[in-house]
Every structure is written in C-alpha cells, then in structure tokens.
Symmetry: D2
Subunit: 352 residues, 4 copies
Amino acid sequence: MKENKIFIGTDTVSGIAPQLLEEISKASKLKTLPYGNDVFTKKCEKIVKNIFEKNDLKIIPMVSGTASNSLAISSFLRSYGSIICHENSHINKDEGGAPEFFSGGGKLITIQNSLGRLRARDISKKIEEINFKRKLNPVLSGISITQLAENGTFYTLDEINEISKICKTNNLYLHMDGARFSNAFVSQGSITLAEATWKVGVDCLSLGATKNGALAAELIIFFNKKLAKEAQYIIKQTGHVISKTKFVSAQLNAWFEDGLWLRLASKANKKALYLTNKLCEFKELELLYPVQGNEIFIKMSNTSYDKMLKKNIIPNLWGKVGNEHVIIRFVTSFETTISQINEIIRRLKTTF
Amino acid sequence: MKENKIFIGTDTVSGIAPQLLEEISKASKLKTLPYGNDVFTKKCEKIVKNIFEKNDLKIIPMVSGTASNSLAISSFLRSYGSIICHENSHINKDEGGAPEFFSGGGKLITIQNSLGRLRARDISKKIEEINFKRKLNPVLSGISITQLAENGTFYTLDEINEISKICKTNNLYLHMDGARFSNAFVSQGSITLAEATWKVGVDCLSLGATKNGALAAELIIFFNKKLAKEAQYIIKQTGHVISKTKFVSAQLNAWFEDGLWLRLASKANKKALYLTNKLCEFKELELLYPVQGNEIFIKMSNTSYDKMLKKNIIPNLWGKVGNEHVIIRFVTSFETTISQINEIIRRLKTTF
Amino acid sequence: MKENKIFIGTDTVSGIAPQLLEEISKASKLKTLPYGNDVFTKKCEKIVKNIFEKNDLKIIPMVSGTASNSLAISSFLRSYGSIICHENSHINKDEGGAPEFFSGGGKLITIQNSLGRLRARDISKKIEEINFKRKLNPVLSGISITQLAENGTFYTLDEINEISKICKTNNLYLHMDGARFSNAFVSQGSITLAEATWKVGVDCLSLGATKNGALAAELIIFFNKKLAKEAQYIIKQTGHVISKTKFVSAQLNAWFEDGLWLRLASKANKKALYLTNKLCEFKELELLYPVQGNEIFIKMSNTSYDKMLKKNIIPNLWGKVGNEHVIIRFVTSFETTISQINEIIRRLKTTF
Amino acid sequence: MKENKIFIGTDTVSGIAPQLLEEISKASKLKTLPYGNDVFTKKCEKIVKNIFEKNDLKIIPMVSGTASNSLAISSFLRSYGSIICHENSHINKDEGGAPEFFSGGGKLITIQNSLGRLRARDISKKIEEINFKRKLNPVLSGISITQLAENGTFYTLDEINEISKICKTNNLYLHMDGARFSNAFVSQGSITLAEATWKVGVDCLSLGATKNGALAAELIIFFNKKLAKEAQYIIKQTGHVISKTKFVSAQLNAWFEDGLWLRLASKANKKALYLTNKLCEFKELELLYPVQGNEIFIKMSNTSYDKMLKKNIIPNLWGKVGNEHVIIRFVTSFETTISQINEIIRRLKTTF
C-alpha cells in the first residue's frame, strides 16, 4: 500500500487555526458596513497600534501576500522609480512582476550574494553606482528587505539599523516583506515589536498571517503614515478592496488576540528545529543555512531526492546545483506534528 | 430607546451561508497544493462545465468583484484598446479606475441612457463614430454589459443577442459583469445557464457569489477559452492569486451544490418583491424601475429621506434629482427576513 | 489634364518657415551639450519668461503635440486620477489613448455639448456627480481645455476665468492644449500673453509650433513650476528627450523672435477669413461655427462633397450628419496664398 | 587666453550632415499627407527593403533612440513579460525605465560580465534558472543586444548566431539596439546588411542615424513583420507619431542615398583609430577595449583626468575604478577632424 503524501515544502498548505475560523463565523452574524468601514477593521487598527506601541500608523487588511508587498512598495515606487532588493527576494523572483505592474513600470535593482540578506556595504556601493548616472537611471526610492529572509535566516536589528541609516541618508523608504515575520520575530529573542520594526526604521511592513493560521489575511502596516494616502487609491484601483473586509479583519483580530500569532509561529519554529536535528543525522543531507525560523534548506544529490519523492515526502524543489545536486526546502507550520516529523524520518531511514 | 440600525442598502452586508462556512471548515483539514492546483478548484471547474453545459471553458476563482471584472476585461482590453459600457456601469463609476489600470491605460467608452441597459442601436451608432476616426482612437476591443443591470433590471436574451451580433460583426468580445447574475437568472424564467450566457454570445462572465452567500468568492468563467491564456499571467501580476485558493473554490462548490446559489437568489428576489409591494403603498415613495432582481430604486423628497434615516433605516443613497429629491436603493439578500421588512414598514408608517 | 491636389484640410501639411530652417542650420554648427543642457534651450526659457512676463516658470521643448499634451497632463494625472475634458477634445478622440497611457491608467471624464467648449456650469454639475461617489471614482485632478477649441472657436478670458475659479475651489489643475494657441491669441484682440494664460489660471500650456512654421517643435510651459518636477522624469521614461534638443529649441527661438509666430498665425487667420467669405457665397455650403482662428467647419451634402473631391480639393472629412450630409474642415496656414484660395473658389464654381 | 572646449565625449554633439539638411529643405516645399502617409516614408521603406534585401519588412521612422528601443522591445515585451539584456546596456542603465514603462511593467533581466557583450552560455544558464520558476517569473519573451556593444566592440556574426539559436529554441524574439549600428557594420568587414541582421536572426533593429549625421532620425526595422502590428498602436499611444513624419524620412533617405551613412560611419571610425593610436603613446592612459567602432574607453588616474579637463578636453566620464581611477569615453563622429585630434594630443602633451 502506498503511503500518504506529506506536503512539507511550504506552510501555505496549512489550514485555518480554529480561533480564526470561529471569529469568521461570529463576524458573519454581525451586520456592519462593507469596504473596510466595519467595526472589526477599526478594532484591528487599535490592536496593532497597541502591540506595536505607535499611535500614528495606518493599516490596510489584505488577502494576498503579493498584493500586500506590491501595494506597500508602490506607495513609494513610482513608474520612473526603482528600489533595491535581494536578487532572490520574493518580490523579484516569485511575484510575476507585480511590483513593476503596481507601479506602472518601476524597476527592481537587485543585489546577489550567498548570504541571502542584503548587506549595508553592498547597498552603499550600488547606490554610488546609481547616483553616478543619476539623470539617466530610474529614480531610486526605497529598499525592500525580507524578514525571514529568502534563505530562512533573519536580519538582526543591527543589520536593519545599518540599512535604515542608508535610507535616511539617501532619502529612501524602507519596506519589510514580513510574509514570515512572526517566525522571525519569535526567533529574535526578547525584543519588542516596536524594536523589530519602526524603531529600526521600517516605514512599512507587509505582515503575513496566511502561512501562519489564517484563511487569507495579510496586513500592511504603514508606520510612516503619509505613505498610506497614496496606497488607499492604489488598493481600490488594483481591485484589492475586499467587499466584506470584516472577514479579513476578524481573522487578524483573533490572530493577534493574546499573542496567538506568536504562539503559532513558535510552534512552527520548534518543529523546524526538531526536524532539522533529525535530518542532520543523514549524511545524504547537507544543511545550507542556520535554521532561524520555520524554513530548512537542504542540499542533496538528485538520487537522494528521487528516493525521498518515492517515499511520498513532498518538499519544495528550490534550485539546482550543477547537474548532480538539488536544493530543497522544508517548511513547518503551526499544524506540523511531532508524529508527522517522526514519520518523515522513519520513511527516510527506510530508503537512504 | 433608539431602534437598531437596519442596513438595507446593499447585499454586501450579508454574512456567509452556513453551507459555505462548513465547506471552508472541511477544506481546512484537507491537505492539497496551493495557488489553485488543488482538488477543490478542479472540482469547481467540473461543476461549472456541467451546469453551463460546456466542456471547453476555463475558470478562475477570485475574491474581489472589481478584480474579477477588470481581469476578465483586460483579457481582451489592451493599453491601446477600448470597450463600450454603460455610463452608469460599475466598471465605469465604482471601481476606482481598475479596468484602466489592469489594461495599462485602456479606455471605457460610455453610453448614457435612462433605460439603464445598453441598447443595440446606441452601440451601433457609437461604433460608427469610432470607426470614422479609427486610426486616432483607441482600438475598440469589446463590450461589457451588467446582468442585473445597474438599475436592477435584467437584459432579455433578445437584447443580449442583438448586442452579441454586433460583437461578431465588429470582431469584439462580450463581457458580462454578473455581480448579481444569480438574481437576474432566477428572474429570467425557464431558461438554462447556457442559454443565459455563451449561447447568446457571452465570451466571459464575472460571476459573483460574495453578495449572495459567500465570504469572498467570485468566479471568472471564460467561455471563450483563448482569453484565459492572457488572464493567467495578469492574475499573477496583479496579485490576485490567493495562496490558499482551495478556500475560494470550496465556497463556490458548496454554493453551486444542488442549486443552493439559485435558491439563495430566489429568496432575496422574493423579499425584494414583498418589500416593493409594501413600499408602493407610501405616496412619498416613487418606484423608478421594474424590480427584476433584488434591487429597488426609489425616488423621494429630501424630507422623506431624512425621516427614514431618523428611523435607523439605512438604504444606499444613490443619487440626487435636482435639489429637492434623492434616489435611494434598497437591496435584499438571502438573509433578509419578512419580519425585518415588516419592521421597516412599521417604522415608516410611524413617520410618514 | 487633371488639376493638382490642394491639401486644405489641415495646417499639418505646411512646411517650415525659412527663419526656422536657417536657425536649425546655424545650430548645426555650434557645439553644445545634448539632452537639453544646451545654450539654445536656455535662451528659449529666457525668451518665454520674458514674453509671458513670469520668472518662475519652466519649459520643456518637445517634438510631438500628443506627447506635449500627455506629458503636461500626466504631471498631475495619476493612474488613479481623472480629468475633465470636452468629449470632442483632441486628447479624448485623437491621441490613441496617450493621456491614459502616460498616466498609467488615468481617466478622461468627458462633457459633450454643441458649443464645442467646456462651460463652467456643466463642469460644476459633473464635479458634483463625481464628488457624490468620491471614494469609488478615480480622483479628479484637473481640467483640460483647448485653445482654439475643437470647433475653431476660442475661449474668452471670462470663460477661462470661470473655469479656473472652479479649479481653485476644487483643488484642480488647469491644462491648456494650445496646438493652435497662436491662432487663438491673435484673434483674441489686445491682450497680453500673460493675460491669456497664467493670469486667468492656466497651470500649464502645451504650445504648438509645428502647425505654424516649425519642422517639429512644441513647448510645454509650466506656469505652475512644481508640476515640472514630475514631468522631467516622465519625459525621460516616455522616450521624449530628444538627444539633439538644441534643434528643437533653435526652431522655437526663431519662431518667437520679433513675434514671428504671431505674424505667421495672423497670416493664417486672415486667409481663413478670406476663404470663409468666399465659401459663404455658395448655397451648397453651410458655415457651422464662427471662424475665430484658422479653421472653418462646413456642413454640406454628400453630393457636394463628392464634387469637391473630384476637383482635387482635399479638405478634412470631419464627421457625418445623418446619411446625407458631412461636415468638413478647411484649415489655412501661414503658407496659404490668396491665389490658392482663389483657385479653390474657381474650381468650386465650375462644379456647384 | 583660454582654449576652446573640445566636446569629444559623445557623437551626440555632432551636427547635421549637409545632404540631410538639404533634403529637409526640399521636403518642406513638397505637399504630402502628414502622420507617415507621405511619399518620403514610402520611399524610405523601399530603400530599406532594397539594401537589406528583404521584401516583407516594415519600418517605423522615429526621432528618439530611447523610444526606438522601447517601442521595438514592447512589440513583444508584455507587462507580464521579461527580456534578457546586458547589465550595462543602454536600455537598462540609460533610458530612465522606458522599456518598463512602454510595456506597462515588463522586466529586464540582466547579465553582467566584463566582456561587454552577452555570451550564449550565460544566456542559456539564465534561461534555465528562469524556466525553473516558470510560473512565478515574468514570462521571458526576448533578448536584446547592442551593436556596437556598450564597450565599443561589435558582436561577431557567430556570436549573434549562437544567441539567435537560443531564441529559436526558446521561442524568443531578438532585438538589436543599433544606435551605432552603422559604425559596427563598417567595421565588420565584407558582409551584407542582410547577413548582419535578419540572416543571423535579428527580429527587429533599432537603427540610429542621429549620432551619425541626422538632426533627429531613428528607424525601427521589423524584419519580423508581425511585430509591427502591435507597434503601430503603441507608437500612437506613446505620442511618438511625428505629425510631419516626412521630415524624418527625408533625413533617412538622404542618409541612405549612395551609402552616405556608411561613408559617414567610416569617417568616424577612422578618426577613432587615429585618435587611439595617438592616445596609446601616453603612459597615463590605458586602453580598456579593442576599438571596433567610434568609441574609445580609457582608464586613467583622477589626477590625469583633472589635468585633461583643465585643458578643456571634454570626454564622457564613464565610471570609477576604486577611488583613484576613472574610466572615460572618447567618441568620434563624422565631423571629427584630424586637426581637432592633433589639437587634443597637443594639449595633452603640454600637461602630462
């Protein structure tokens, strides 16, 4: 008998946390105005102001991560503008050109390195190059970083601080793609949400809940309130105003309630560490980056990869290294169980 | 004691039909691939092919009505293109310029009339004008009609047929904004879904479920399959691929199941008729259009309108007529109850 | 023997005034920086500041009228914005959707009337409608008028004043499409250039020289200097920076020199009056609008029109009236001669 | 007394070749239809078909090099599309984001190398990467190469052939930015124009005349005729239809006449070689690339550069190498004289 498929390649396969589903159900019964003028959205903004310790911020609830990033970015990226991001960033490689589209032709200027995160000194060098040809280049308007970064590691506060200093010097906005911000945050140790974001200079955060317990809920938080003005028009024109916004905000409210979101993220991260430890026992598998959230990147031979697939373990095929090796990604979620992980390991042991 | 507010101005304030919520809950437990490659979406396409009696069609599940319209339209509206629509159409007046944006600068050429629906002869005249200046005008690429139309009436099959003949002659695509298609359909009498759409020449239908029982679910049906090719890229680039698409398709599947959607629409329509009959007894209220779905348009004096508001009856303020009168809209939904309507009438009697 | 063709339908068939050609020749010999940093462009700005009696203005020399209009308009028309213009305006009917494209999806909201010019009271009514649905409509950002209007008449200063008051009240910018501004100006009687433009509230003027003596030269004058900032990036991104800008500015300098441009416009206008007087003698021809520049609009039967064409007189076919009549346009230019007009009349006499 | 400035940094400072100016003057007298329907443009297409030995091609005369590139590219680059080009290419670094804008958000995917030209093997590798993430990446639609390349060298026919093979395999279009195509062509030895372009798979060529004798004239040649269909609408919508197109085509006709354009290019190239030989005698100057056209790239110390500037020799400052050195560019044109070069050398000898 064939074993069941284990989808362990992305946290996007996860379901809805019960607390969120229940809040959706409640919201269904309560009549309130559509298009974001509802009591759930108002409550959400209050919660966010409270936990991020900042009164002058604006929020926009969204249902798509790509849209959340693109909308945030296009609040400062004009058609004749450009932003700097990592070559491997989701906005550059995985969003079908959405930032370029939302901005009507803006340009992503990329920096490649093996670290997986932008380094201040590379950014400075790139800016120098751009300034050299200022009149002929698209106008540089911001920098976008990803927390967790694309390789599953997090930016330290010092790293972000260095980057945001460059932003201040060069009159640039700083965007943070936080699709897995909660996973990064609970890993960063005892810091506050304020310290993790606006206190180190983040102007807007695209905070993702969908991978961590929601049906479909993302939140743009504009710490720099003036950026929200432009965004309110773009969200309408790009068709991202959800008519029954209350259902998005309801999810977020339940998610934030009593720190549920951070507990869910902790769960996922712990499972990632547990899984990593087990995986490291296999000589066939080479861990590529420190596991600082819920993502694990592994290099392995094509042969080993095929064996794994045959065992119905479905990771995410991340890349190729030459013709003989692949990079795969494992991602745990709040739903991942110890027994599921043990089952993965059991299967691997029977084939490696 | 103040009476509670009755939101009767739009069906967008309605909640989720229980069958749909239950299906969401089930989908949460079933692991399947994200980004539309899931079993729910596959099932949805099967259902649609079946009930619309057409095998070569393509579907795209969406969560926003504006996006559903704009994406469908931009499958044939190029940046240098134009489409004809009614001056009062939702795409022209209520979507913040989304069709123009999705197409990168396309143009809506509008026709105004008091009928509320496009007439074949007005379209022909407009096309003649456009052809006269062919080289200098944006290239005409399609026509968009709304079913229910903006004034709550439906296009007859004959009317659509006449328009689609013009489309054929002039090599144009025909789009139908079906935000309230189900309300129109159950009013149209004993016709099939096929007859109501592709058999009278509709190339793509933006079918809305959100106003009629869903949390957030819209469906683009491309009867003309080749239009779907372009759309699959645009949906990605506009950020409208919902990562957990299964939750959208799950709603739709429950909605279609055993004709639930049509029963919900019938409920809403019946309440609209019931409410209309009651309202017609007030000499202060003038019915503007035949009620052929779930929308009722009423002309009344400013004074009467103010009185109504004071009774906490919240219709949609639709327009002004001179300085003394307003047009308001009542919209019933599947949730509207007889007792709610009676309560509205009771309050009106105490004030008029 | 067949008579030679007389192209009298547009001033775009005219050649280059000798003074401008000579200045091009001179500019060819003088080495100076490319891309607008040349001595000719600097001189041009000085001239414009002088004759328009305003020191804080900015100019951008262009080679295309469509681009000149679109660039000026997109200095304030955002993708989610809209402007009001006449239904028959060149930007709406004859520029292939360029304003929509330059702005990435902006919307032209049109007003139709038989006057050929926007009226303040129609604009006010339209704005009221738009404000009524403010959140759902593209944001209104400006008004564009055409001087000479599309029917060859000019806006009086009072008319412009009324419109610009509406602009001030509603925080809108006022653009003037001045493709034939010089023809309008010399007709308006003893007023100054300042009075004809910024003193009545015009924020930017797209001033055309191509129809009136240039090879290819248009000039955007930003009386409202802050609009020029945005424009400088858009001009680059839309590919409208001409590398050897000196040749554009050189034309303009010769054109402005000693009021040559106004003399050329006067010549054209005088010929238009002369031609009009002669045409009015034919009962077959009905003059539609007062001739206030160099354009003459005539209604005539299809039969008469065919006779005219057979005489190799080539007007511009402007429109149709029912099935039996057409509207044609005659346009004179600085090159039109009395003998040419007499020849037209001679031919008409032999056929009517 | 201060010595006069010698602008030797770009061929864009050059004037108009007398034959072209004369043809403009002639065209001014001949009446013909505007907007490209003129006899000069028809003649131009005939000439191009003849010298490129291909009957099914289409031409579009332009006045801007940036627009010529962007329009050609956007004939196949959709908003959700991407093209591969060199990191240093003009379209990527020097056109203010125009290709992105013309295509409504298309993406340039760049390859960096020290060769200055795209290599087939780098392209293949990049395509493999892109295909790996096909669904999430903008759709790859073409490749753009520059002839002369950005470092002044030319692609050999073999190199282009290898690239165009990749295009064929991957269903991509091949664009050639030929701003200095004539300089490259006369350097390539005894090949035909056909061999240099469509016979090695070039689908469209943006051929520049402005730097080589024209006032403002560029020509898009669509060897792949079907691409021209899309382009004809985009050119209108981007405002690049010049009303008196005859003046652009007239320049081109005189330019092509009896091979004038190639003689002008040869002149420029010969002067470049002469200058290079002289410059190589200075130990302060290091030649960076082989001189295969009219461009010379020199590395020198900041001190030497300052000395040069003080002698009123104005090259183009191309880049920096560390903090101590700069790269400068000399460009000769058809107007550059031996005595001018001798004068440059004389001045350098007095200061180095």
